[in-house]
């Protein structure tokens, strides 16, 4: 206790100039501004969509959601058949993609020889990187003819007793759109699931194997239960992606209003309808109705994302602990400097 209070204060003032004293609040203010802007954009998006869809909302109200008509000539609009088309394609795509993605993740974490794991994982993720317009072009000109000439006749011959697999074969339609969406969703779900499996503690796996479980029993009894909430979140994110995909779906689904049982027939989705019609929209009410569709899409994507985050949160909170520890250390330092 030889150093007096009066001796310490000037020394601190010399090492920390005005720049240093201004720097901390300045950096905090600038970065806070950037973060506030990012949050504001989200609010602005919601505001603009509400504003833009007001005219259609006044004209049709919530009846918009239950009406099938989409008639640009008589200015009558309803979203029901688009909502159904979106739900059918997205649900089918996620139903096909989820087991595939989980199987891929299992292969990548459990079965693949170590040297090829990273490479295979990168290849699967590359599937997600293909631009949707490229996948759409491929869907029209390569997948479409295959669906028309091979897949649909085959499905009709084997499962034709069901109403879903009847009707005229066509290169475009619900089935082609579903397959394209499946290709987009599989890598998303697979890469998240793979990371979840990798975080399961090795003791748990080894314990199950040491008790005599086969590898599959270990997967079913240990890995899948441990990863379940995360997988659900990944599926939700994949579903959100499938619902929001506009371009590739617009290119292959056939853009037709109407609800029918057959998967071979043409249909349309919320996002695809906006993509196709917005530029040539003839009336303000049409534009407003399209913005209404965008607002419905926004609500769906908000619900899906917030739901997914609530599922993921317990997993996400780990790295923060380190930062809190640092904060405490800093506070302790601040106290000692006073």
């Amino acid at each position: 206790m030889t150093i007096s209070h009066a001796d310490r204060t000037p020394a601190l003032k010399r090492t920390r100039g005005w720049l240093d004293r201004l720097g901390d609040p300045a950096l905090k203010a600038i970065t806070f501004g950037a973060a506030a802007l990012a949050v504001t954009v989200l609010g602005l998006i919601a505001y603009e969509l509400v504003k833009g869809s007001r005219q259609a909302f006044h004209a049709f109200g919530f009846g918009f959601l239950t009406s099938q008509t989409w008639d640009t000539i008589h200015n009558q609009f309803g979203a029901l058949s688009l909502i159904v088309g979106t739900a059918v394609t997205a649900v089918l795509a996620i139903a096909i993609a989820t087991p595939l993605a989980i199987a891929i993740a299992l292969f990548l974490t459990e079965l693949a020889p170590k040297p090829v794991r990273a490479l295979l994982g990168a290849l699967v993720e590359m599937l997600a990187a293909i631009p949707s317009v490229v996948l759409g072009l491929w869907g029209i000109l390569v997948l479409g003819p295959f669906v028309q000439d091979q897949l649909e006749p085959f499905l009709n011959a084997t499962l034709g007793f069901l109403p879903f697999f009847r009707g005229q074969s066509s290169p475009t339609g619900i089935l082609t759109a579903t397959l394209i969406l499946t290709i987009m969703v599989v890598p998303i779900v697979a890469s998240v699931t793979r990371e979840l499996f990798a975080t399961v503690p090795p003791e748990l796996r080894e314990g199950a194997l040491a008790l005599g479980a086969t590898r599959w029993e270990m997967v079913r009894g240990v890995l899948l239960p441990a990863a379940r909430p995360g997988i659900l979140a990944a599926v939700a994110l994949g579903f959100g992606r499938a619902v929001g995909e506009a371009i590739a779906v617009a290119m292959v689904i056939g853009s037709q209003i109407g609800i029918h049982w057959s998967l071979f027939g043409h249909s349309d989705t919320l996002a695809a309808r906006i993509a196709v019609q917005y530029n040539g929209a003839p009336t303000n009410l049409t534009i407003s109705s399209l913005v209404y569709l965008a607002a419905i899409l926004l609500v769906i994507s908000l619900a899906v994302n917030i739901g997914a985050q609530l599922l993921i949160r317990p997993i996400d909170s780990r790295p923060r602990r380190r930062r809190i520890a640092l904060d405490r250390a800093l506070e302790a330092q601040g106290l000692s400097a006073d």
Partner: protein
């Protein structure tokens, strides 16, 4: 040596154990099949785009402007390539500094509650369908000021911002606390520590995260549909405040044409775009994995 099955204590699995092992093997086979299917689909897409696109690729394709008229022959997509570069360049100029600042705030400065709010906003923005972002920028800017590459770039920047911010935040968290503590212990103020110690050691990760976002933005079509030029024009316009063309819009427009010459151009444009996107995203992912290992270990 007698046959194992006739020995009194058989080592070969039988009954229930045998069934368990069969199930195990079947599931392994299914997993292998699923992985093979994914890789096969990737190969089919890459090969079919490559084989159709490579045929239409020549020097003209990169150096000529788009052909005009009803039955166009020859020509290239020079201005679409340039347009994409300008669009993505402006979007990066907007999204990179903003994204890094947001990440610094979230990982270094914010209280846990505000950090969670900002993080949530970023993740929600990331989940918004890109077509909705297109509509938003249209009603915000284009409805009043007309189409421009700048409007398109803002749409792309909204898509890139959460990607860059989240990638940056992740690498900032990887920077060892000991580095921050060492700097602070030397009496360096917090903002200097952040900008001169923490951010530089995270620089590699920030760059690869940005490259990934660029690859994603270059392949986007939906947010550009109503923001920048959908039509095909041949004049050399580089002004970002005019509507410019982009590769994705060219593919989208040409894919709906019956003319096989234009379809061939669509394939060629798709091929270039796919090569660019796959190469940059693969390279940056590999770099990121390596970088993470370096910081983590």
């Amino acid at each position: 040596m007698s046959d194992t099955s006739s020995a009194p204590f058989s080592l070969r699995a039988s009954g229930r154990l045998r069934r368990r092992q069969l199930v195990n093997r079947a599931m392994g086979g299914l997993a292998l099949g699923a992985a093979a299917l994914a890789v096969t689909v990737l190969a089919i897409v890459v090969i079919s785009v490559g084989s159709r696109g490579a045929g239409a690729l020549n020097l003209d394709f990169f150096t000529q402007s788009q052909p005009q008229g009803f039955n166009p022959k020859g020509g290239g997509v020079l201005f679409a390539i340039v347009g994409t570069a300008i669009l993505v360049g402006i979007a990066t100029l907007i999204a990179l500094p903003l994204g890094v600042l947001v990440a610094i705030y979230v990982s270094e400065l914010a209280s846990p509650r505000l950090a969670r709010l900002a993080r949530m906003a970023l993740d929600i923005t990331n989940g918004i369908p890109t077509i909705v972002i297109g509509i938003f920028v249209f009603t915000m800017i284009v409805a009043a000021h007309g189409q421009s590459a700048f409007a398109g770039a803002i749409g792309l920047a909204i898509i890139m911002l959460p990607l860059i911010a989240r990638a940056t935040e992740e690498v900032l968290l990887l920077v060892p606390a000991s580095q921050r503590e060492a700097s602070l212990a030397l009496g360096v103020s917090r903002w200097r520590t952040t900008l001169q110690v923490v951010v530089p050691s995270a620089l590699g990760g920030i760059i690869t995260g940005t490259t990934l976002a660029i690859a994603r933005a270059a392949g986007e079509t939906a947010p550009l549909l109503f923001l920048t030029s959908l039509g095909v024009s041949s004049h050399a316009d580089l002004n970002p405040f005019h509507p410019l063309q982009s590769l994705t819009l060219v593919i989208f427009t040409y894919s709906e044409q019956g003319d096989p010459g234009l379809q061939a151009k669509a394939w060629a444009a798709a091929f270039i775009l796919m090569c660019f996107v796959l190469f940059t995203s693969l390279a940056s992912k590999l770099a990121l994995a390596r970088y993470r290992k370096k910081l983590g270990g």
